[in-house]
């Protein structure tokens, strides 16, 4: 009895000590733990899958990461604000299908840069609009984001099928193939776009008022309201950003596979949320990093890619991702419990 109490004491003291490290060092350590996993995986697959280290592998991994990373970036903001956006996968499908239908409709031969630009605009507008609708339902009607985006998840999936009559859309112009599979100075367009989006989101998160309010809202919504921030407008912008990124993913997915279907993003939602969680953003809100999400996304792709190289079926990826989500959330919850225990253990010491 005495022994277990002193052990608890020791643990809580250690946790208190670690919370005194200062936020910067703390978040650096947090980031490094997923970074360490990433590096560990890279070393592991390098040894177990001969010939794995190559630029082909590198770009395969980066390209495969690009699409769902776009969803994960938007999801990171939503989760930091203590919400969730379940509609991004079907939004990706809807935007991809809508842009493909438009492109096929207006395409009359040639390389087709103009029609692809029109299709790109359509995908973005549809993503932004779909996101804004989520934001209005959550921000103005006051619905819980889980329910609101579960509803629009279904609605957007339905719209995608209505637009395409339920069939995949193909016969896209060469310009689309270039967008989806081309590259500049050896770097695929998809990778460049995802990298630019990551930089943009990282800047938004740490250098703008809007980004700071995402964190503050996740930590204490009421304090932000009292500080005079227009919460409704903020919420609309938050989901609009998430939707816009999903729209972009829809366009790029269509370009990559030269075919659009309502099902294009069906597994991307799960993988995107997994990337956020593995990247160290807790579902409790108020904390998180964009770079963590990028690392989390890379971890997921490397596991899939490494499995394939090792001869394990790629289907295992979803199973493993599911398991990883549970483990990552459990570890996060466990740390939170320790922190609360530590805080109550240090309660009598009010005279600091």
């Amino acid at each position: 009895m005495e022994g277990s109490r002193s052990l608890a004491n020791l643990v809580s003291r250690w946790v208190v000590a670690s919370t005194r490290l200062g936020p910067r060092l703390q978040s650096a350590l947090l980031r490094m733990s997923s970074l360490a996993v990433l590096i560990g995986l890279i070393i592991f697959f390098g040894f177990t899958a001969p010939g794995w280290y190559s630029t082909t592998t590198l770009f395969n991994i980066l390209t495969a990461t690009s699409l769902f990373l776009l969803l994960a970036l938007g999801e990171t903001f939503v989760i930091i604000s203590s919400g969730i956006d379940l509609s991004v996968g079907s939004m990706e499908g809807m935007a991809g299908v809508a842009s493909a239908v438009l492109i096929v409709h207006i395409y009359h031969g040639g390389f087709g840069i103009g029609v692809v630009a029109a299709g790109a605009a359509a995908a973005l507008v549809i993503g932004l609009l779909g996101g804004a609708i989520n934001g209005i339902v959550v921000g103005y009607l006051g619905l819980n984001s889980l329910i609101a985006t579960l509803a629009t998840y279904g609605a957007y999936l339905g719209f995608a099928d209505i637009i395409s009559n339920g069939f995949p859309v193909g016969n896209l112009p060469p310009a689309m193939a270039t967008l989806g599979n081309g590259s500049v100075i050896g770097i695929p367009f998809l990778v460049l776009i995802a990298a630019a989006a990551s930089l943009f989101c990282a800047g938004l998160a740490s250098h703008t008022r809007w980004g700071r309010y995402v964190f503050a809202i996740g930590a204490n919504r009421e304090a932000v309201r009292r500080a005079g921030v227009n919460l409704r407008r903020h919420t609309v912008l938050l989901f609009t950003l998430s939707g816009g990124l999903a729209g972009l993913a829809g366009l790029l997915s269509t370009a990559k596979f030269l075919s659009a279907s309502s099902q294009a993003g069906s597994t991307d939602l799960l993988i995107a949320i997994a990337a956020v969680v593995i990247g160290g953003t807790p579902l409790t809100g108020g904390e998180g990093t964009i770079w963590g999400t990028v690392v989390g996304a890379l971890i997921i792709t490397i596991i899939e890619n490494g499995f394939v190289e090792m001869g394990v079926s790629g289907f295992w990826q979803l199973v493993v991702v599911g398991i990883i989500i549970v483990v990552a959330v459990y570890v996060d919850e466990y740390q939170r419990k320790l922190r609360i225990a530590a805080a109550s253990a240090s309660q009598p010491r009010v005279d600091e």
Partner: protein
């Protein structure tokens, strides 16, 4: 107080009058035709649970709007639709529930909603360094120890958190400061430190309104004292010439 940067010289406030304020929640009359004048210095409010103290404070802080009645600051009527309106008018509040954003640092909380920005290629970006410097200077002028302003407020004690909220009022040089039971969650040592800070603010000519449950404490420091019961002001007293027993009598209604 030592050299604290004055960012918004709103000017001093000599007089804050509330006139005929009423507020009901459904059938509950939280506030019924309350009128009084708060003057520069330390105004205390006491009263039993549910007397309407917090409701009055929230109306003055712009957090809620009264059903009827007026707020008059230095002779001018105020129409507060939000806490942001109140801040613009120079009214800063500390809440009963230590409302800070836990995962933001000290500087982030001090400047929440009023961040310092800089222009970068036409974009308005956060000027974190300026905010950290300003926060450090303000905290240094305050006699409460806050380790570093880049510390997440989650790791701070209750007194340190109230000090962060007070530092906000000090930095923005608010002439009117509302405190709703600021020491309710604090131990004796931290309570003394927070009250010391409030004392400094009074010495600087601020108009302070503080709700307290601690009768001896408020009798000791208030310049003027208001007693509330069932949504009304039942008595205004001079703390110098009032005993604890008399005050308790007014609070529970055994004296009038």
């Amino acid at each position: 107080m030592p050299d604290v940067v004055v960012v918004s010289p709103i000017g001093d406030v000599d007089r804050l009058e509330v006139r005929d304020l009423s507020k009901s929640y459904g059938g509950v009359r939280a506030l019924h035709r309350v009128s009084t004048v708060f003057r520069r210095g330390f105004n205390g409010i006491v009263g039993d649970n549910g007397a309407g103290k917090s409701t009055l404070m929230r109306i003055i802080s712009g957090d809620i709007q009264p059903d009827t009645g007026q707020l008059i600051l230095n002779g001018k009527e105020l129409h507060l639709r939000s806490t942001a309106d109140a801040r613009r008018a120079g009214i800063e509040s500390l809440y009963q529930d230590l409302a800070l954003a836990d995962t933001l640092d000290v500087a982030g909380n001090m400047f929440l909603g009023r961040e310092i920005t800089r222009n970068f290629l036409g974009l308005r970006l956060l000027d974190k360094r300026a905010m950290v410097r300003a926060a450090e200077r303000t905290v240094a002028s305050v006699n409460i120890q806050i380790p570093e302003v880049s510390r997440m407020v989650r790791t701070l004690s209750g007194g340190q958190r109230q000090a962060v909220a007070l530092a906000r009022a000090i930095y923005f040089n608010a002439p009117v400061i509302l405190l709703d039971e600021p020491t309710a969650a604090l131990g004796p040592k931290e309570t003394a430190a927070v009250l010391g800070l409030v004392e400094q603010l009074r010495a600087n000519g601020k108009l302070i309104i503080m709700v307290s449950h601690n009768i001896p404490q408020i009798l000791d420091i208030a310049d003027h004292l208001i007693v509330m019961r069932s949504g009304r002001i039942v008595k205004e007293v001079d703390p110098q010439s009032t005993s604890q027993e008399e005050l308790l009598g007014f609070m529970v209604g055994s004296r009038t």
